[in-house]
C-alpha cells in the first residue's frame, strides 16, 4: 500500500512546496477581504428583486404594476413585453454555450413552475425593491399541475449501456435482487446565495457573477443578450461554493443584465434563499429499479439498471444515473436505461457527482442486499466481481485500485471485528451498524488554457479564466508552478475568475485541476523558453550566444545545462538587465471528452465505510464514524483534498438521513424552502471522518498524475450509511432520506 507521503512524490522535478500548503487565499477569506460577487457595489447601482409566480402551472392574465411603480425609489418594473430582447442560446459546443433552463426569463406569459420569474422590480435600494415587488399584483388562470414524486413513464427509455443478454441471464440466475431505490429532490444550499451585479457601459457588460464557469457564462450571455462576446466581461473571484448549482447561467443573470442595459446603471440582483429552491436548479428525484443476478457463489451474471428522473416541463434534464453502472463490476450481461418524467418544477441541474451519486446509492444498496442474500461478506462480494478492465468501454483502466481501497478501508475501520447479524454489535449501550459501499467518479480533462509570466520583480504570475469554487484552485495552481519552477509559493501570484484571462476550464466534474496541469506545464516551459531567448541575447554575460537548449532553469535560476545551478543567475536579474518586464508563456491542453481514440478508461475510485449508532428505545439514529479511502490519482495538496472529502462525507450524511425538497402536491411549491425546514447536516450530526488517499498518480491523465477529488467523496456514502442502518436495525431503506418513522418498526425491548 502506498499511503500519502510528501517525500516520495512521483515527479521528475524535486518537490519544493508540494504537500500540505495552507490555502493561499485563506487570509483573505478569514479577514473578510475576499470579494464575493454580491460584495461589489458600483457607483449608481440599483437593486433588482424578482416577482415569482405563486402558481405552478397557468397563464398570467393580468399583471398590475401600477402601485409598485409609484412606490419610493422604484425605477422600473419589467415583465413580459418590456424587458427587451432576450434570445435563446444555440445548442452548446463542448463546454461552451450551456444552460439548463433554456427559456429566457419573461419570454412568454406561461407559468410552468412555482417560483418562475414573472416580473422584476428595480429600485434605489434593496428594501424599496423588495417592498415594491410585494405590491406587483399578478393574476393567473391556473392549469393542472403535477409535482408528484411517484415517477413513471410510458415512453421508451433510452438504452445507455448494453452488453450480452441481461434478461435471459437474470431470468436464469441462481440468486436475484430486484428492488427499486429512490432519491429525493435535493436542493444545493451553498452558503453564498446566487448573485449578479451587472453593469452596461453602452456597448457591453461587466458582470460579477456567482458562476463556476466564467467562459461559458460569457458565451451564454452573449447569445441571449445579443452582445458580442468581446464586449462582455464576467468576473468570479471567489465563490462561496456552488456544488454544481452555479455551473450554468440561471434566469436571474439575464434579468440583472437587461435591467442594467435598459436603465443605463449597474444592477445588483441577489437570489433569495427561498428562490434558490425554485429557479437555480436542484438534483432531481430519481427512481431506479436495480436487478442483480448472481450464481450461487456470488459471481454476477446479470445487472439491469433502469432509472427515471424528473425534469421540468420545457427542459430535458437527464440525471445520468447509470454513469458508474457499466464499469464498476464484472458481469457479461448488462443493461442500463434511463428516461425522464416531466413535472411542474424548476429545471434540474448537476449536483455534486450528478448521476453517479444517486446511481451508486442504488447499485451499492443492491450489492449489499445481494451479499446478505448470499450470506457473504459485502467486501468479499465486491472483490469477487472486480473487473480486469472497463467492460463497458472494453478498455484497460488507466489506474484502478478499488480492491486496495476496500482492503485498506477494512483495515482502518476494523471491519474484521464485524459480526453480520442484524443488531448484533453493541457499543456504550447503543446498537451499532457497519456498512460499506464502493464509489467511483469520472476522471477527465476539459480544454484549458493558461498563461505564466516570469516577472522582472521576481514574481511569477499564473493566470487562467477558471475560478476557485472554494476547493483550493488558487492553492493548487500556486503549487504546480512552485513545484515546476522551484520557486516558493509566496513569490507566485495566481489570478483567476475573469474572462479576460486565457480561457480556463469549468469548475465542475472535479476536472479543473487535472485539466489545468498540462496547460500550466506548457505555459511554464514556454515562459522558460522566452527567458532563455532573453538570456542568450544578453551581451557580455555567461549566457551570451547560448542556444536555449543549452540553458536550464533550476530553483529560479538560469544556468548552463552543463554547469551546476549555483553558477546560474536569478531570472529576475536577467530580465532586469535586459529591461524586459516579463517573460511570458501560454499553454493549452485538449480535453479528453469524447476522444474516439481513447486507450484507457479513466476514473477515480474509493471505498466508504460507515458506522451508525442506534438506540432502539427511542429510534434515535446517528452516523458516528466514516472511514473513506480514495484512489484519486496523485494528490497535489492533501490539506484541501482532505477537506473536500470531509465536506463530501458531511453532505453524504445529509443525503442519507436529512435532505429532501418537499413539493406540496396541492400548491406545487417547494414547501421547505429555507435552512430550518430543509435539513442539512449540522456539526452535531457530523461523524468522525478518517480520510486516506492512496496517491497513485494517473499519468494517462496528465504529467502530475492528478485527477480531482471534488465529487468522489459524496459517491457511495449514502449507501454505506443505509447498509449500516440495515445492519443495526434490520430495516432496509430504499427511499432516501432515512427517517425516524422508517425505524420505528423494530419493537422496543420492554422487560
Amino acid at each position: 500500500m502506498s499511503t500519502f507521503s510528501t517525500t516520495a512524490l512521483p515527479l521528475n522535478t524535486p518537490p519544493k512546496t508540494m504537500g500540505k500548503l495552507p490555502r493561499v487565499d485563506g487570509p483573505l477569506k478569514v479577514t473578510g477581504a475576499a470579494m464575493y460577487s454580491s460584495d461589489y457595489n458600483l457607483p449608481g447601482m440599483l437593486y433588482a428583486v424578482p416577482v415569482c409566480a405563486t402558481v405552478p402551472s397557468g397563464k398570467i392574465t393580468a399583471l398590475d404594476a401600477s402601485v409598485a411603480e409609484k412606490m419610493p425609489g422604484v425605477k422600473a418594473v419589467y415583465s413580459h413585453g418590456n424587458i427587451g430582447n432576450l434570445y435563446r442560446a444555440a445548442p452548446p459546443s463542448g463546454f461552451i454555450g450551456i444552460l439548463d433552463e433554456q427559456r429566457p426569463p419573461l419570454e412568454d406569459e406561461v407559468v410552468r413552475y412555482y417560483g418562475q420569474y414573472v416580473a422584476v422590480v428595480v429600485a434605489q435600494t434593496f428594501e424599496q425593491a423588495t417592498a415594491a415587488a410585494d405590491k406587483v399584483k399578478v393574476t393567473y388562470s391556473k392549469t393542472d399541475h403535477n409535482v408528484s414524486d411517484k415517477l413513471k413513464t410510458d415512453e421508451k427509455p433510452k438504452v445507455d449501456f448494453h452488453r450480452g443478454d441481461p434478461d435471459a441471464a437474470f431470468a436464469s440466475a441462481a440468486v436475484k435482487i430486484d428492488e427499486t431505490y429512490a432519491t429525493p429532490t435535493e436542493t444545493h444550499n451553498p452558503i453564498e446565495l446566487h448573485a449578479s451585479v451587472a453593469s452596461w457601459d453602452g456597448q457591453g457588460f461587466t458582470v460579477y457573477e456567482t458562476t463556476q464557469a466564467v467562459m461559458n457564462h460569457r458565451n451564454v450571455m452573449s447569445q441571449m443578450l445579443g452582445v458580442p462576446e468581446e464586449n462582455i466581461r464576467v468576473i468570479s473571484r471567489f465563490l462561496g461554493s456552488g456544488f454544481g448549482g452555479k455551473l450554468w447561467p440561471w434566469p436571474h443573470t439575464f434579468l440583472a443584465a437587461s435591467a442594467s442595459r435598459n436603465l443605463g446603471r449597474p444592477v445588483k440582483l441577489v437570489v433569495a434563499r427561498s428562490t434558490m429552491f425554485e429557479s437555480v436548479g436542484h438534483r432531481p428525484r430519481t427512481q431506479q429499479r436495480f436487478r442483480l443476478g448472481a450464481n450461487a457463489d456470488g459471481k454476477l451474471v446479470a445487472l439491469i439498471h433502469d432509472s427515471l428522473n424528473h425534469t421540468s416541463i420545457l427542459d430535458d434534464y437527464s440525471e445520468g444515473c447509470s454513469e458508474a453502472t457499466p464499469y464498476s463490476y464484472s458481469t457479461p450481461n448488462l443493461r442500463a436505461t434511463s428516461a425522464i418524467v416531466r413535472r411542474n418544477v424548476g429545471t434540474p441541474t448537476s449536483m455534486r457527482g450528478p448521476g453517479a451519486v444517486p446511481g451508486l446509492f442504488a447499485m451499492e444498496s443492491a450489492m449489499d442486499e445481494l451479499a446478505i442474500r448470499l450470506k457473504m461478506d459485502p467486501i468479499k462480494l465486491r472483490l469477487m466481481n472486480e473487473p480486469e478492465k472497463d467492460e463497458g468501454l472494453n478498455l484497460p483502466f488507466s489506474s484502478r485500485h478499488f480492491v486496495e481501497c476496500l482492503n485498506t478501508g477494512a483495515e482502518k475501520f476494523g471491519w474484521a471485528k464485524r459480526t453480520p447479524g442484524v443488531g448484533s454489535m453493541k457499543k456504550d449501550g447503543l446498537t451499532i451498524g457497519w456498512g460499506v459501499a464502493g464509489c467511483s467518479w469520472i476522471a477527465e480533462r476539459t480544454e484549458a488554457q493558461a498563461a505564466v509570466d516570469l516577472m522582472q520583480t521576481g514574481m511569477v504570475r499564473v493566470s487562467t479564466a477558471t475560478q476557485d469554487i472554494g476547493t483550493g484552485t488558487y492553492t493548487a495552481l500556486s503549487q504546480m508552478a512552485s513545484t515546476k519552477l522551484g520557486i516558493p509559493h509566496d513569490r507566485i501570484e495566481v489570478v483567476l475568475g475573469d474572462t479576460r484571462l486565457p480561457a480556463g476550464p469549468i469548475s465542475g466534474g472535479s476536472w479543473a485541476t487535472a485539466s489545468l496541469v498540462p496547460a500550466v506545464m506548457e505555459a511554464i516551459e514556454k515562459a522558460k523558453g522566452t527567458l532563455f531567448a532573453v538570456a542568450g541575447s544578453a551581451k557580455g554575460t555567461q549566457f551570451d550566444g547560448a542556444k536555449p537548449d543549452a540553458l536550464a532553469f533550476t530553483d529560479g535560476r538560469v544556468h548552463l545545462k552543463d554547469k551546476s545551478p549555483d553558477t546560474g543567475v536569478p531570472f529576475e536579474e536577467i530580465l532586469n538587465k535586459a529591461n524586459i518586464r516579463v517573460a511570458s508563456g501560454q499553454g493549452s491542453s485538449k480535453g479528453t471528452f469524447g476522444d474516439p481514440n481513447k486507450k484507457f478508461s479513466t476514473h477515480s475510485f474509493g471505498a466508504q465505510f460507515a458506522e451508525v449508532t442506534w438506540q432502539p428505545e427511542t429510534a434515535r439514529l446517528r452516523v458516528s464514524r466514516v472511514v473513506t479511502v480514495i484512489d484519486g490519482g496523485h494528490i497535489i495538496n492533501p490539506k484541501p483534498a482532505q477537506n473536500q472529502i470531509e465536506g463530501a462525507v458531511v453532505m453524504g450524511v445529509g443525503m442519507a438521513i436529512f435532505e429532501e425538497t418537499h413539493y406540496d402536491p396541492k400548491f406545487g411549491l417547494p414547501l421547505n424552502n429555507n435552512l430550518a425546514d430543509y435539513m442539512v447536516t449540522t456539526n452535531a450530526d457530523s461523524p468522525a471522518i478518517d480520510v486516506t488517499f492512496l496517491d497513485y498518480p494517473d499519468k494517462v491523465l496528465n504529467e502530475l498524475g492528478a485527477r480531482g477529488v471534488g465529487e468522489i467523496g459524496l459517491a457511495g456514502i449514502a449507501a454505506a450509511i443505509t447498509n449500516a442502518v440495515y445492519h443495526a436495525t434490520g430495516v432496509r431503506v430504499r427511499e432516501l432520506p432515512v427517517r425516524i418513522e422508517d425505524l420505528l418498526g423494530p419493537k422496543m425491548d420492554v422487560a
Binding site: 405563486t54 428594501e127 423588495t130 417592498a131 410585494d134 428505545e617 427511542t618 429510534a619 434515535r620 446517528r622 438521513i657 436529512f658 418537499h662 406540496d664 402536491p665 396541492k666 400548491f667 411549491l669 414547501l671 421547505n672 430550518a676 425546514d677 435539513m679 447536516t681 449540522t682 456539526n683 452535531a684 450530526d685 427517517r739 425516524i740 418513522e741 420505528l744 422496543m748 420492554v750 422487560a751
Partner: protein, 334 residues
C-alpha cells in the same frame, strides 16, 4: 415587510398603554412588543406579522432571576434563554428547564431569545409561515391546507378541523411540568395565569393562541418552590442532533417514596397544539412502581386520545417511547 414605527419603552405602564391601542394581542396585532425578536422579525420579513408599531421592551428591568422569600423562583420576562439555562438556581432546582432550553434553537438564538418571547413562540407550520398559502391561524377563514398536506411535524393532540399547528417551544414543556405561573401586567392591572391556562386550543379560533389581550405584557414567569428529592429530565427526539424542533419531547418531574411514584408531572412537546400536559400518564403512574411495565402503561394512557394526521402517525409510537425513556432516565437518577 411593511413600514412600522419603532418606540423604545420607558416603563411598564407606558409600554402597556401603547400596546393597549392594538386591536388584538393575537395574530395580526398592529402593536407588538419586541424583545429578542427571534420569532417576530422572522415573521415580519415573511409578511406573516405586519405590525405598524413596535414597542421595544428591552430597556425594561425585567431581566432578573430572583428567589422569592417563599422559595419560588421568579424569572423576568426579558431573561435570555441562555442566561436562564445557565443560571445556578435553575441548574440546581429546575434541571428540566435548563435541559429544555439548551435543547432548543442554536446558541446564537438562545443568546437573543427571552423567556417571555419563548412563551409566545409561534408555530413552525410551513403553511402558517408562507403568506402565499391559506392558513386559518394567519388569515382566519382561509382553510387549513396542512390537514391534507405536509403535516409530518404537526400536532396529534388538541387539533381542530381548523388548525393542527404544533406549539414548537421546548421551554414551555418544562414550564408545564414545573407548573409555572405567568405574571401579566395589563391595562387593568396585574394578574397571574397558570401555565396550563395560558395557551389556548385552536378550536374555531386558531389565530388566538393565548389569553393575552391588548396591552397585556408578560412580566415574569414564576416557578413553585423546588421539591427536595424531585427527579427531573427533558428528552427531545428530533430528526437531527441540533437546531431542530422536537418530533416528540417529554418533560418529567417525579418523586419516589419507597420505590413507588408519589408525585409526577408529565408534559409532552412536539405533539400538541399547545404545550401538552398528560394527566392520563400522571394518573397511570401515581402510586406505581417505577418499572418499564408501568411506564409503558402510562405512555399508552398518554397517547390514548391522540389523533394523528396523514403523515404523522409515527408520532404516536415515538411519543410513547419518548415518555418511557424519559421516565426511565428520570427515575434512574441518583
Amino acid at each position: 415587510m411593511e413600514l412600522f414605527k419603532f418606540t423604545k419603552a420607558t416603563g411598564i405602564p407606558q409600554a402597556v398603554q401603547m400596546a393597549a391601542m392594538s386591536k388584538t394581542a393575537q395574530q395580526g396585532a398592529d402593536v407588538r412588543f419586541i424583545a429578542g425578536g427571534t420569532t417576530l422579525l422572522d415573521l415580519m420579513k415573511l409578511n406573516v406579522e405586519v405590525p405598524t408599531q413596535l414597542v421595544d421592551i428591552n430597556g425594561l428591568a425585567l431581566d432578573k432571576v430572583e428567589r422569592l422569600p417563599d422559595g419560588r423562583l421568579r424569572i423576568g420576562a426579558l431573561v435570555r434563554n441562555s442566561d436562564l439555562a445557565h443560571s445556578a438556581e435553575v441548574q440546581k432546582d429546575y434541571a428540566v428547564l435548563s435541559q429544555a432550553l439548551l435543547s432548543g434553537a442554536s446558541a446564537q438564538l438562545r443568546n437573543m431569545a427571552t423567556t417571555g418571547g419563548n412563551l409566545l413562540q409561534r408555530t413552525r407550520c410551513m403553511y402558517f409561515r408562507n403568506d402565499a398559502l391559506p392558513c386559518n391561524k394567519r388569515e382566519p377563514g382561509t382553510g387549513c391546507p396542512a390537514i391534507e398536506g405536509d403535516n409530518r411535524t404537526l400536532a396529534i393532540f388538541g387539533t381542530s378541523s381548523d388548525c393542527i399547528a404544533t406549539n414548537p417551544s421546548d421551554m414551555n414543556i418544562a414550564l408545564v411540568a414545573l407548573e409555572a405561573t405567568v405574571q401579566v401586567q395589563g391595562p387593568k392591572g396585574e394578574r397571574e395565569v397558570p401555565i396550563g391556562e395560558f395557551h389556548l386550543l385552536p378550536g374555531k379560533t386558531p389565530h388566538r393562541e393565548n389569553v393575552l389581550e391588548p396591552g397585556d405584557l408578560v412580566t415574569s414567569v414564576t416557578l413553585p418552590a423546588a421539591k427536595a428529592g424531585a427527579k427531573q429530565t427533558y428528552l427531545k427526539l428530533r430528526d437531527r442532533a441540533s437546531y431542530e424542533f422536537a418530533l416528540a419531547s417529554t418533560a418529567i418531574v417525579v418523586e419516589l417514596h419507597g420505590g413507588k411514584i408519589s408525585y409526577v408531572r408529565v408534559a409532552l412537546g412536539g405533539v400538541g397544539t399547545k404545550p401538552w400536559r398528560s394527566h392520563e400518564a400522571e394518573h397511570a403512574l401515581m402510586g406505581k412502581a417505577a418499572d418499564a411495565k408501568n411506564f409503558r402503561a402510562a405512555a399508552e394512557a398518554a397517547l390514548h386520545g391522540a389523533k394523528p394526521q396523514s403523515e404523522n402517525g409515527f408520532k404516536v409510537e415515538l411519543a410513547k417511547r419518548c415518555i418511557v425513556h424519559a421516565l426511565t432516565v428520570a427515575t434512574q437518577q441518583a
